[in-house]
């Protein structure tokens, strides 16, 4: 050991003391550190005076410093034993917030575990490109019916129009797919233009690198549903070659979750150039509007008049895919709005406080009371969001129309009844300490209510207030009233 190594050991010893000091309660930490630094100085001096610096000396000093951890742990234990006992939790605002916080935590953790929710969060970047529309014949009854032919795209592409800068076509048909030796199935395969996903602004998941893509076989894009159900969501499937209708096709990626919004209930998209797609049979047309095209949109719709190859006029309608994409947040907010509208039907929304005297709590206490109500509402809103998303994705691994309804109903119901509970709870909380009033006592008799007051009395266990709730609302006593207790009541609550 060299003389130069002493400062290094000194630094190490001080580092040990510093680490141990974090165990000490914060209020005692500075003094504790000062005492141990001083003791370390004495220990080092004592060992330095008795022998030359050696490994043995340094080991003894280090062992002295390790004792600091036991001392710090002892101080922490003493602090824990001597800490002032907190007021009883039952009925306190803290208990209420803890319960709501716990529920929120559970619903949030469940949402993290559900693959559908995770996928939805991961795919938030897979939003449809603004200006992407689905074009159909104007007479089509609903958007899920294929009404377009590929020739119409060719006409639009050839014509000089300034409303759209890209078109894609796809047609869905059932085809057999061979997944392996003696394993197969029948899928809804869409013969699609190769630019379909790029047009809609969607990037594929686990997209195969260009150098690994085969040029001699068509490219196949799997839907999220098929990828999860048939292949257990394994990324290794990308790059393999499947037999689709006896023709080989290479899986080049997984479609984003938003792709379900394209009609046709497609299991996989077989990407081809437009010339390779059979021109017979109806399908779907997806287009991307230019800025002037978007200016023509009204309410998510754009009307298009066009001529076909025989110079006869046809009317089409373009529906924005953005408008057709109500994400979980939009559905949630819609459910919250409905619940707000329905709330007065099931609960009184008035929070006016009446009391027997002119005494009122200070403005700080009133602000804290409203802050507490605000905190409850915010927590209920968050619980409603995560719980509704959990329920919507419990059975569906991707966002689906059924999930939309489940989420709407769940968010509506949870928020509505949550708000009802929050308002009722708020009315039964002491305006002074926010504890729930307890010990209900029936006073009087309803049959004699015209002679004497009848109702229920509840008392704040902190001794601040008495709550009178009428048994039957009358013109002279229609709502609950608070009685603020003066100090003469203190003897009841002593100890």
């Amino acid at each position: 050991m060299t003389p130069n190594s002493e400062p290094v050991f000194h630094t190490i010893d001080r580092g040990l003391l510093c680490c141990a000091s974090f165990l000490v309660p914060e209020r005692q930490r500075a003094e504790w550190r000062l005492e141990w630094e001083s003791e370390l100085w004495h220990a080092r001096r004592s060992h330095g005076a008795s022998s030359a610096a050696s490994w043995r000396t340094e080991r003894e000093i280090a062992s002295f410093c390790f004792g600091a951890f036991q001392d710090a742990a002892c101080l922490r234990r003493l602090w824990w034993q001597d800490r002032p006992q907190s007021s009883p939790l039952h009925g306190s605002p803290r208990q209420c917030i803890l319960w709501l916080g716990g529920l929120l935590l559970v619903s949030y953790l469940v949402s993290l575990l559900l693959p559908g929710v995770r996928a939805e969060h991961n795919l938030s970047s897979a939003q449809v490109r603004p200006g992407t529309i689905l074009i159909q014949n104007e007479g089509a009854e609903n958007s899920s019916v294929p009404t377009m032919v590929i020739d119409q795209i060719r006409i639009w592409e050839r014509s000089r129009q300034r409303y759209a800068d890209g078109f894609a076509f796809y047609r869905v048909a059932k085809e057999s797919v061979e997944l392996g030796p003696h394993v197969g199935g029948t899928w809804q395969i869409a013969q699609a233009s190769s630019n379909l996903f790029a047009l809609a602004g969607w990037s594929l998941h686990f997209m195969i690198p260009k150098e690994e893509a085969r040029r001699d076989v068509p490219r196949l894009v799997l839907s999220q549903r098929v990828w999860r159900q048939q292949f257990g969501a394994t990324p290794e499937i990308v790059g393999t070659v499947l037999l689709v209708g006896a023709r080989p096709a290479q899986v080049v990626g997984i479609a984003p979750g938003d792709a379900w919004r394209l009609p046709g209930n497609t299991d996989a998209w077989l990407l081809k150039s437009d010339s390779e797609i059979n021109s017979t049979g109806p399908g779907y047309v997806v287009a991307h509007l230019t800025r002037s095209g978007r200016s023509e949109m009204c309410g998510g719709l754009v009307h298009i008049s066009s001529y076909d190859s025989l110079r006869s006029e046809h009317d089409f309608v373009g529906r924005s895919l953005e408008e057709r994409t109500p994400g979980p947040a939009n559905i949630y907010w819609f459910g919250i709005l409905l619940a707000f509208l329905a709330l007065p039907a099931i609960a009184s929304v008035s929070l006016a406080d009446y009391s027997f005297s002119s005494h009122k709590p200070s403005w700080i206490r009133r602000a804290v009371r409203f802050g507490f109500l605000g905190a409850k509402i915010i927590l209920i809103m968050l619980i409603a969001y995560f719980s509704s998303v959990d329920l919507a994705y419990w059975h569906f691994s991707v966002f689906s129309p059924s999930g939309v309804y489940i989420q709407l109903i769940a968010s509506f119901a949870i928020f509505l009844f949550g708000m009802r509970w929050a308002l009722l709870d708020q009315r039964q909380r002491c305006p002074v300490c926010l504890r729930r009033v307890t010990h209900p006592a029936q006073v009087g008799s309803v049959s004699r209510m015209f002679l004497a007051w009848s109702g229920t009395e509840l008392i704040c266990t902190g001794g601040h207030t008495l709550l009178h709730v009428p048994g039957l609302p009358t013109s002279w006593f229609s709502t609950q009233r608070w009685m603020f207790l003066d100090p003469s009541w203190n003897f009841l609550f002593a100890g």
């Binding site: 000062l34 005492e35 001083s38 003791e39 220990a43 004592s46 002295f64 004792g67 951890f69 001392d71």
Partner: protein, 105 residues
């Protein structure tokens, strides 16, 4: 009158050391031969039980002797009483840690 608490041998040794005039942590350690992980926690408990009390020395004294400030410990009345009871219980205590001549702080 409250009964005198029975002290462990370690606590009694520390009280004896303080009474003998060894009044800061490291000196008690050296005299008793106990490790730091035993001495300091025991002193915390004794202080909590009000058998000893502590105070920091004046800065000028430490400056004059060119060393860091020391935290001194001394017995309280309850501590002296407890020590006396411990001496009866552990007769060899005084022989193990005899009084040193100078007891000044």
């Amino acid at each position: 009158m409250p009964s005198v608490a029975k002290l462990s041998h370690t606590a009694a040794m520390i009280l004896q050391a303080i009474d003998a005039g060894l009044i800061y942590g490291f000196s008690i350690m050296e005299m008793t031969g106990l490790p730091s992980g035993t001495v300091y926690p025991a002193m915390r408990r004794l202080e909590r039980d009000k058998l000893i009390c502590s105070r920091w020395e004046r800065q000028s004294i430490a400056d004059a002797e060119q060393r860091p400030l020391r935290k001194y410990y001394k017995l309280t009345a309850a501590g002296a009483e407890a020590l006396q009871a411990s001496r009866n219980r552990y007769p060899l205590l005084e022989r193990m840690i005899p009084d040193i001549e100078e007891k000044s702080l």
